[in-house]
């Protein structure tokens, strides 16, 4: 089925984009985690998504649900910190929602199951200074944008990324109530949460890949914080006609780096 092949290709492309982004942000994530955690989040996520790419390369399948499940299983086995069961367990469970293919409806179901599983496993509430603070507004915004505002999945995802970014910023002034940071009490205030940060990076890469795969972005404002993975920029630079795109993307990345630092 051609449609399924395209969806499978998009899943594989997204996994590589996320792996490249997390490799590039490894030190930044570790810096954030060394301030309030155990300084392993960058290395753990990088190791996890490297394993994801290896396992996807070994898997001959065009079933998007099976591919996404493989992403979750790889993260569960390879990450080693709390992010393994949180990211991996939630992705593995939510992958069941994609068994009928990737549509607006199944991606909303995926997002909702991801959030439910994350909260059940981590037992964190909104405002505890965890990845839940980025995931919750993103999932709620995506669901509302698709179901109530009847936006396209691409427009809805762009809004969800904005929502995750606002949720991430909201973690900085909070006192941590869950995870290793909670042992620091008031000293955790003033630091951005690493798990919420990696959540935003992953969503940004999903958006960038969705934009490339789904095409036609004329009617959507590009989010200033959303960027594209470096390998994608190189691919674009090889094309004369898309050279301007690459410059725009690089400029966006520079701005992003300044904001993040």
């Amino acid at each position: 089925m051609a449609d399924e092949h395209a969806q499978a290709t998009a899943v594989r492309t997204a996994a590589h984009a996320i792996a490249d982004r997390l490799a590039a942000e490894k030190d930044h994530l570790t810096d954030l985690d060394s301030a309030i955690g155990d300084a392993d989040h960058g290395a753990n996520m990088d190791r996890g998504f490297t394993a994801v790419c290896d396992r996807l390369a070994d898997l001959e399948s065009d079933d998007p649900a099976e591919l996404v499940k493989t992403v979750g299983v790889a993260l569960i086995s390879e990450v080693g910190g709390a992010s393994g069961p949180l990211y991996g367990g939630s992705i593995m469970k939510a992958s069941q929602e994609l068994e009928g293919g990737v549509t607006a409806e199944t991606t909303v179901a995926f997002a909702e199951t991801y959030l439910e599983t994350l909260q059940a496993r981590g037992k964190a509430n909104l405002g505890d200074k965890t990845m839940v603070d980025a995931v919750t507004p993103a999932v709620h915004t995506y669901k509302k944008s698709v179901e109530t505002d009847e936006l396209s999945p691409l427009e809805a995802l762009a809004k969800a990324v904005d929502a995750a970014n606002r949720g991430l910023e909201f973690t900085t002034p909070l006192r941590a109530k869950k995870g290793r940071a909670s042992y620091l009490g008031w000293r955790s205030v003033g630091h951005q949460d690493p798990g919420a940060t990696s959540t935003l990076y992953i969503l940004e890469e999903l958006l960038a890949v969705a934009q490339d795969e789904l095409g036609e972005m004329g009617d959507i404002e590009r989010d200033a914080t959303a960027d594209v993975d470096p390998s994608d920029v190189q691919v674009r630079e090889e094309s004369e006609t898309e050279a301007k795109d690459a410059v725009d993307t690089a400029a966006t990345e520079d701005t992003d780096t300044e904001v993040q630092d």
Partner: protein, 129 residues
């Protein structure tokens, strides 16, 4: 018979707890698991699944004791992955004292999963001074 699985971020800590608990109980009932597959500090569900299966090969039920954050989550996930939700239970207890209490109680002839779990949980109230 009730088995015990102790899960720590460090394999050495898990093994050390097993040694202390078995010295107190005089019985070989504790399965120790810790660290990541490549020997780093952390936990991974895969090795916990192996320990659960080993413990359940000679016991009807298992009580799992855990140290910090991800050990709890990975133990929960491992129980689901192994499909042993009805046979394994996690104790909300300090990992060393809970494991010692559980190991001692598990040697009683009438020990049940409930009695071993209760003994582990009682370790929360142990006063040291």
């Amino acid at each position: 018979m009730v088995g015990i699985v102790v899960v720590s971020h460090s394999e050495e800590v898990a093994r050390g707890i097993k040694v202390i608990a078995e010295e107190m109980s005089g019985a070989d009932t504790v399965h120790a698991v810790g660290g990541t597959a490549d020997g780093r500090i952390g936990t991974t569900p895969d090795t916990i699944v192996d320990a659960l299966e080993a413990a359940l090969s000679d016991n009807d039920a298992v009580v799992v004791t855990v140290d910090l954050g991800s050990a709890v989550m990975n133990a929960e996930l491992a129980i689901e992955m192994a499909g042993v939700e009805s046979a394994a239970v996690i104790a909300d207890a300090p990992v060393l004292e809970g494991t010692v209490n559980a190991a001692v109680t598990a040697t009683a002839p009438d020990a049940t999963q409930e009695s071993v779990l209760a003994a582990a949980t009682d370790a929360r109230d142990l006063s040291k001074l």
